[in-house]
């Protein structure tokens, strides 16, 4: 068992330092690169915080949908193949809901400020 603080806590501390202390001191292309870097750290923090739960939900949903066991990658590959072959489509019970939930979980990590995501969350 590794000791505390957790990775997400460490990365958040670094990102906050860069954002609050360093970013105001630099300009131009370096400032742009720094912003991209801070965005990357924020993304990692969100993934470390959110993905254990969302991955577990996705895995459970895939098992129910496909009626079999496997890893996330295997089951996603299987679902992808079934959609490609037409064996599964939007009229298959649970598919549309599954795709929406897994996609929203990705956006929550990747780009929670993306306008389409914000709109969908408002309407939920």
């Amino acid at each position: 068992m590794q000791d505390e603080p957790r990775p997400d806590e460490l990365i958040k501390a670094v990102a906050d330092f860069l954002r609050d202390q360093i970013a105001p001191q630099i300009s131009g292309h370096a400032a742009f690169k720094l912003r991209v870097g801070i965005n990357a750290l924020d993304l990692v923090t969100r993934q470390l915080t959110l993905s254990a739960d969302s991955d577990a939900e996705e895995l459970a949903s895939l098992k129910t949908l496909l009626g079999k066991d496997g890893t996330l990658v295997d089951l996603n590959s299987d679902l992808a193949e079934r959609i490609a072959s037409g064996a599964v489509d939007l009229s298959t019970p649970g598919v549309k809901d599954h795709l929406w939930r897994t996609t929203l979980a990705k956006l929550a990590v990747d780009q929670p400020n993306y306008a389409s995501y914000r709109r969908e969350m408002e309407q939920k």
Partner: protein, 331 residues
């Protein structure tokens, strides 16, 4: 070639073809990878200086991708567009072997803005914004109306071939994306087939490739992905949500409505097929998503180990939510 040798060669070239030119100054590289560069410089002349842009592939570098039209073809298309009244930079010179600068061309520099967030939000563009969707329609009708017989050699690509290319690109990455599969399936089932009108298609008509001023669109740039095909492709691509930069209720580049763009297109003599436009919007959304995945591949495998590339890879999920909003809306 060192920068000094390059600047010398460019000055020698300019003196040969530009009447009265005495030399150049302020040569600065704007962008470029190994295979393609963009330079800004000023041609000095007693009658008045000319602000110019050079686009070139240095000697020894071919085209950047199998889809690229080639710089000679780009120059020819810009010339045709300029003559057809499409806002375009005037092409001043196409490089020849005598220039010893590789392949490429020199054009007049057009002042204005290409950064979407400024165009969509800054006061300077407030008067232009409500007119831009219609103007984009007018411009697209103009470029689609260019006489087919006058065009340089271009590949012709149908919707069916484009679906196949995207499927191959996506599958080659070996990472499962059920939403992309859903989109590929929808595209195959809704493929409108060969278009009645096959015209010049710009291929990348969106923010970043449009120079915009307070008076509207001043220039259409970057004909690298030009080809012959269904003209509705350009109308669909400009509607892809990724080019709305947050203004998601204004489908045409975050500027205005499809209806405004269609009205401008038809007033300028074009015929709109809204179903085909929707088809190409779905295709374009998937295409941008796959391009984002390609950035992630290049980040991992290529020499450019940059944060920007890596982070663009994480933008493919944006196109997944947009594809779901298009193909499987919740309400």
């Amino acid at each position: 070639m060192s920068q000094a040798a390059f600047v010398d060669a460019l000055a020698r070239s300019v003196r040969r073809w530009c009447a009265g030119a005495t030399g150049i100054r302020a040569a600065a590289q704007l962008s470029g990878g190994a295979s393609q560069e963009t330079w800004s410089f000023v041609i000095e002349r007693p009658d008045g200086d000319i602000a110019a842009i050079l686009r070139r592939s240095p000697p020894g570098y071919g085209s950047v991708s199998g889809r690229a039209a080639g710089l000679d073809v780009e120059a020819e298309l810009m010339r045709l567009a300029y003559e057809a009244g499409v806002p375009s930079p005037q092409v001043l010179h196409v490089l020849t072997e005598a220039d010893a600068l590789g392949a490429g061309f020199v054009m007049r520099r057009v002042d204005g803005e290409t950064i979407p967030r400024k165009i969509l939000r800054d006061d300077e563009f407030a008067d232009a914004r409500p007119k831009l969707a219609r103007q984009i329609g007018t411009i697209l009708a103009g470029l689609h109306g260019i006489d087919s017989a006058a065009l340089p050699p271009l590949r012709t690509i149908s919707s069916t071939e484009e679906i196949g290319l995207l499927r191959d690109d996506y599958r080659s990455m070996g990472w499962p994306r059920p939403v992309f599969e859903l989109a590929l399936r929808w595209l195959s089932q809704n493929d409108p087939g060969v278009s009645k009108a096959v015209t010049l298609v710009h291929g990348d008509f969106r923010h970043g490739n449009l120079i915009i001023g307070a008076d509207g669109v001043r220039a259409v740039l970057d004909w690298e992905l030009a080809h012959r095909g269904d003209p509705m492709e350009d109308l669909g691509w400009i509607c892809v949500n990724s080019w709305r930069f947050g203004e998601i209720d204004k489908p045409v580049g975050g500027l205005g409505s499809r209806e405004d763009m269609f009205a401008g297109y038809e007033a300028a003599g074009g015929t709109v097929d809204p179903d085909r436009v929707k088809f190409w919007e779905v295709m374009g959304t998937l295409r941008w998503g796959i391009m984002c995945c390609g950035m992630m591949q290049r980040f991992r495998q290529g020499p450019d180990h940059s944060m920007e590339r890596a982070m663009i890879g994480r933008r493919s999920s944006e196109t997944e939510i947009d594809l779901l909003r298009l193909l499987a809306p919740r309400s």
